[in-house]
């Protein structure tokens, strides 16, 4: 057991050390896929907040991804705003939308929450498709400028445009590291423990003095802001947006990532995004050989979800909380309480 975990740690360390050098060792395509993985890793970590930390199944997460991306697209194209100003604006707007979506659903849980979030993402896509004056509708938004670092406003004559994949790679790495650290800090804070309590049993948490409304709202805002951040980065990186990108399929893909990695496990979310994006790229190459459209790769994802839930309900890296001794004690207590209540 310990030998295995040491080997795993060494492997992880090796991957971590190799990461900064990937752009020098491989092709533009590999770097592109790596950046894609980073975008999804951020999305997965952001989504993880609701189902993973609070046990609320969010099926509309890409709605915030879309809101962030379109905010970046519109502000950068029409108002020529710098990426560095757009990011906080988009994150703030995302957080606002998250609270607005969350506020009426505070009383809901389980299936009803899932279905409301599901409706939300559809409404976002409909809005993006139909409000042509703002989003150009189905035509999409081409020509979004790349990210740049511009110091002329400081009086220094220096400007750097992100014209290849490499700078995006490093910025993406920075973004993933930032979100990861923030997530870990939060998980280990008062806020994170309040969320854990809500996840285990909302009623018990409320009776222990945890204000469900406040803590859930913070979770909604935080999760949405991270999604908007990923969207912002994606818009300026891919330089093109279309409403179709933000359909339910994407929500499902991100959900697959965190379920595969283990709901509630932050590292698991990153591993899940690496595995599924890599799998997606492989299938994208393989499927056309069998005369199948690349969309059918979701077949594999669907099957994967069914199998994981059946045989590894905690994912491949179950959240520590679910296996620790303390948590087992809580589970036992809960089970006993339930039988007493039922009887």
């Amino acid at each position: 057991m310990s030998g295995k975990s040491t080997a795993l740690k060494l492997l992880g360390l090796g991957v971590l050390l190799a990461f900064p050098f990937i752009p020098f060792l491989s092709s533009e395509y590999v770097v592109h896929v790596a950046v894609l993985i980073m975008v999804y890793a951020v999305l997965a970590m952001g989504l993880n907040v609701l189902p993973g930390f609070c046990n609320l199944l969010d099926l509309g997460y890409v709605g915030f991804y879309g809101i962030g991306a379109y905010t970046a697209g519109i502000l950068s194209l029409n108002y020529d705003m710098s990426f560095w100003i757009v990011v906080p604006l988009a994150a703030a707007l995302g957080a606002l939308c998250g609270v607005l979506r969350g506020a009426p659903t505070l009383r809901l849980s389980g299936d009803y929450f899932a279905i409301v979030t599901f409706g939300f993402t559809e409404l976002v896509v409909l809005f993006l498709t139909n409000e042509i004056w703002l989003t150009r509708g189905p035509l999409g938004m081409p020509g979004i400028p790349p990210i740049d670092i511009n110091l002329t406003w400081l009086g220094i004559d220096w400007r750097y445009d992100f014209l290849s994949e490499t700078p995006y790679y490093y910025l993406g790495l920075l973004m993933v590291a930032f979100v990861y650290v923030v997530m870990c800090r939060i998980e280990d804070s008062r806020l994170g423990r309040a969320w854990l309590a809500i996840k285990e049993d909302p009623l018990a948490a409320a009776s222990c003095g945890i204000n469900l409304m406040v803590y859930k709202s913070v979770a909604f805002a935080f999760s949405a802001a991270v999604g908007a951040l990923a969207g912002c980065f994606m818009a300026r990186w891919s330089m093109f947006l279309a409403p179709d990108v933000f359909k339910f399929w994407e929500s499902f893909l991100v959900l697959c990532m965190i379920v595969l990695g283990g709901l509630g496990n932050i590292k698991g979310a990153i591993v899940g995004s690496i595995v599924l994006i890599a799998l997606g790229e492989v299938l994208r190459v393989v499927l056309p050989h069998f005369g199948l459209p690349t969309e059918t790769r979701f077949l594999a994802y669907g099957l994967l979800m069914i199998l994981i839930m059946r045989f590894k309900p905690g994912g491949f890296f179950p959240a520590i909380a679910a296996t620790s001794k303390k948590s087992r004690l809580i589970m036992d207590l809960k089970a006993r309480l339930q039988t007493e209540r039922a009887g």
Binding site: P104, D111, I115, G119, N130, L203, V259, P293, T296
Partner: protein, 295 residues
């Protein structure tokens, strides 16, 4: 004009109701949103057309065959995907249901292609496209009349099964309290399988009717219809069969009138908006009983 819209909405609503009862029955007995129900509906349409096109089966036997196969499909889905998770957390079952839905949708894409396909014109009887009769300013086509008669007959049949037969009583008992029902000697898994079979065959019938009505079908058609039918089930009060029927009709009418008078682009959005509004304002729906939170 208004009367015609209202009537068209009613036709659509009856079809939604047919799908919605499948959702609501499954939710009633195992408390799971069966996301794959929309895919069963889609398979119904494709199987029926495949029987007609490839095997030359006439329309009505093809319908019955497709419904029977979809009933089998519903039972298999439950047996393979949901049954092992009966005691698992709700989240696991819900995620599995989404997985099944995505899986089936992609299977359909592989078998029948991802582009929309037409319903075979030649198989549809001539009198379906003709005007059957006019009622004031409303003109009713043969197909609409057929949809009316068939859906109403199915609803009546379903109500009779639920209220008058032994298995229907068992279903109601299960919806009340599964443990107590099992203690009374009800074979829980058999009743659940029956529920899936019944709901899936009605869903398949709805899929065939929609494909005929709009003369088109696609591998992704189950997605939208599924959400709308679920909205209808929620609207009427999930778990309540008469509620699902009422919810379907109300949603169909609201959608058609909304598309006609407000905005046709947001036609699909109306279903979601109605659903969200109902969940927020009256979570137990129009005919649902409000239940306390289960421990």
């Amino acid at each position: 004009m208004f009367e015609q819209q209202l009537f068209n909405g009613l036709t659509l609503g009856l079809i939604y109701a047919l799908i919605a009862v499948g959702y609501t029955m499954v939710y009633g007995v195992i408390e799971l949103i069966n996301f794959a129900h929309g895919e069963v509906y889609m398979f119904g349409a494709f199987l029926c057309v495949t029987f007609i096109n490839s095997l030359g089966v006439p329309l009505f036997p093809a319908m019955v065959l497709a419904m029977a196969l979809c009933a089998l499909m519903g039972v298999s889905i439950d047996h393979i995907a949901y049954k092992p998770l009966r005691k698992a957390p709700r989240l696991a079952a819900l995620i599995t249901a989404i997985g099944v839905s995505i899986f089936l949708q992609n299977i359909a894409m592989i078998i029948w292609g991802s582009r929309p396909a037409p319903f075979p014109r030649a198989a549809v009887p001539q009198y379906f496209s003709e005007q059957a009769f006019t009622l004031g300013s409303v003109s009713v086509s043969g197909l609409q009349l057929f949809i009316y008669v068939l859906t109403t007959a199915m609803m009546i049949g379903l109500t009779l099964i639920i209220n008058k037969t032994k298995v229907g009583t068992a279903m109601r008992a299960l919806a009340q309290n599964a443990t107590a029902a099992a203690l009374m000697g009800i074979n829980v898994n058999r009743v659940i399988a029956f529920t899936f079979a019944l709901g899936s065959s009605l869903g398949a019938a709805a899929g065939i009717l929609v494909a005929m009505y709009y003369n088109t079908m696609s591998a992704t058609m189950g997605y939208n219809a599924g959400v709308k039918a679920f909205a209808a089930a929620v609207l009427g009060g999930i778990g309540s069969v008469p509620g699902a029927m009422l919810g379907g009709v109300v949603l169909g009418v609201a959608e058609t009138l909304g598309a006609g008078y407000v905005s046709s682009q947001y036609r699909d959005g109306l279903g979601y908006a109605v659903m969200i509004a109902v969940i927020l304002l009256r979570p137990s729906g129009l005919l649902g009983k409000s239940v306390g939170q289960k421990a």
